[in-house]
């Protein structure tokens, strides 16, 4: 069953084509990895999927709904949550606040209910605190819950960002280079966590990644991009054995 459907995306910047005719589908509970050398159009594709860019042509459908022209926040509210390449923890807010921010449909986010504490704000807040506690403990960040996120180490920020995304209870989690700058030990834990989440919570993942090993280890489907277009698509083994991909990487890296 298709959760995300991408069809014919195209984006140009000042006449330069960044992405051309990108199409692929992501099924529910699937883990899809997007790979490609520098300048392949991964990041642009990611931004088009998350609404931070609007495409010149093409269509993005999520859960059967056309979301091509929706703003990032509107997509997020529909269950598409993204992370950032460089962990964007909110430095001036404590860890717990970062987590609670991600709660969806908070009744207290209306000015008046917030000021007066009415409309079930407190009950909802308590509920979310429990959820956050559970997640923070899982990510071994519980001890740091009152620390400003800006004081966390790089790896902790990465985990916090993942935890924050999970607070939003997404159907589809879009991860922008989740392994970048992460040590091998943490990489393993992150990958495990992703597989657990897929199995236990029925979550779907799409991630753009440089670390090909990581992608190959957990992806159900790999999308290989080069020069703004999809070059190869299929199981990790298929893409890995595709000569065109090898060529693209060699050409790109040298």
């Amino acid at each position: 069953m298709t959760l995300l459907s991408v069809d014919g995306l195209r984006k140009t910047f000042g006449g330069i084509v960044a992405v051309e005719d990108v199409s692929f589908d992501v099924d529910r509970k699937e883990i899809v990895g997007v790979i490609g050398p520098n300048g392949a159009g991964k990041s642009t594709t990611f931004r088009l999927l998350t609404g931070f860019h609007t495409p010149d042509a093409g269509r993005v459908e999520f859960a059967g709904e056309d979301v091509t022209d929706l703003s990032p926040d509107a997509r997020a509210r529909r269950g598409m949550i993204r992370t950032f390449q460089i962990a964007q923890e909110l430095t001036g807010m404590p860890v717990m606040q970062n987590m609670l921010l991600a709660a969806q449909g908070h009744p207290g986010e209306r000015a008046l209910t917030s000021a007066l504490g009415v409309g079930g704000t407190d009950a909802f807040e308590a509920e979310q605190r429990d959820r956050a506690e559970e997640l923070l403990k899982l990510l071994e960040l519980w001890e740091l819950r009152d620390e400003y996120a800006g004081n966390l180490s790089g790896g902790q920020r990465k985990l916090l960002e993942l935890g924050r995304s999970l607070m939003a209870d997404p159907d589809l989690l879009l991860l922008d280079e989740p392994m970048a700058g992460v040590n091998p030990d943490l990489t393993d834990r992150l990958l495990e966590r992703i597989l657990d989440l897929r199995d236990q919570r029925d979550m779907t993942f799409l991630f753009v990644e440089h670390d090909i090993d990581a992608v190959m280890r957990i992806s159900d489907t790999v999308v290989g991009m080069h020069n703004g277009a999809v070059l190869s698509m299929g199981s990790p083994a298929e893409v890995q054995s595709d000569d065109r991909m090898l060529e693209a990487y060699l050409g790109g890296e040298i």
Binding site: F84, G92, M93, Q97, A111, A149, G150, A168
Partner: protein, 319 residues
Amino acid sequence: MALLDLLLVVGIIAGVYSLLAIGMNIHWGDTGLLNFAHAAFFAVGAYTSAILTTPVLETGLLAERVVGFDLPVVAGIAAGTVLAAGLGFVIATTSVRLEGDYLAMVTLSSAELVRLVIHNEAWLTTGAQTLKNIPRPLESTVTTLPVSYDLFYFLLVWGLVAVTYLLFERMSSGPFGRVLHAIRENDDVALALGKDVSRFKLKSFAIGAGVAGLAGSLWAHYVYAISPVMFLPSLTFLIWTAVILGGAGSYAGAILGAVVIVVLRQVTRFIPGSVPFADQLPYIRLMFVGVVLVVVLYYRPEGLLGNAQRLQAGTSEGE
């Protein structure tokens, strides 16, 4: 007695400035929005309330104001607050998507436009002439009581400051404030987590503008008369100084900053005319305001009551 009267008047001014600073703090301290239109919100509150609560005056050659409603003061204050919030909403609608410093220029220009309109549309505002005979709330009742009117008004203003402070403090520490803080820290994260950033900015702008409008109404009903010269951009900059001095993000700091600024101004009034440079005193005072702003930003960017840890978090490691 007379000293008490003076303290009350200074206290009332400080209360009004505190409300202005509270409004500014939700913009800058909580949401990170650069608002340079505060004087305009103050003006709209003052003029709305004044126009609604005075009758049309037949004063001959000047003051050809043809609009006046003679409504109760409460209605004026409520309308002044709402209309100022409305103006904040309108200004924000046009420009809330702009980057910080561009927003500053648009809001500054909008404020000047508002002042230009107030100055020139005499049929509505009495124009450059003073809009006078603004009624004081409950004046006839209070005079029968054993308290002076200034004491009554002092309590009224500071009562409202207290209520506003509590509401804003709760709002800021609650889920709504959390989203505002997230926007202050990073728009994109808020967007990625499904927060309608523009909407929150609009709300923040309107709410802060509304409080400035409330301050304007309260001021108008205390001073009997208002004119466009009360609403120059320098007022906005003074409130900025108050907020930065008190500590952006802290409502108690905003109030403290406003009180310090007002008290400093008053204290310099007691400097006798015989000291050197006494003639330049008004200017030296404003030069001092400029120095305070720069020095605070350098040595104590968190201000008197702001949160230094918050500002420092994340700066050590960088990106």
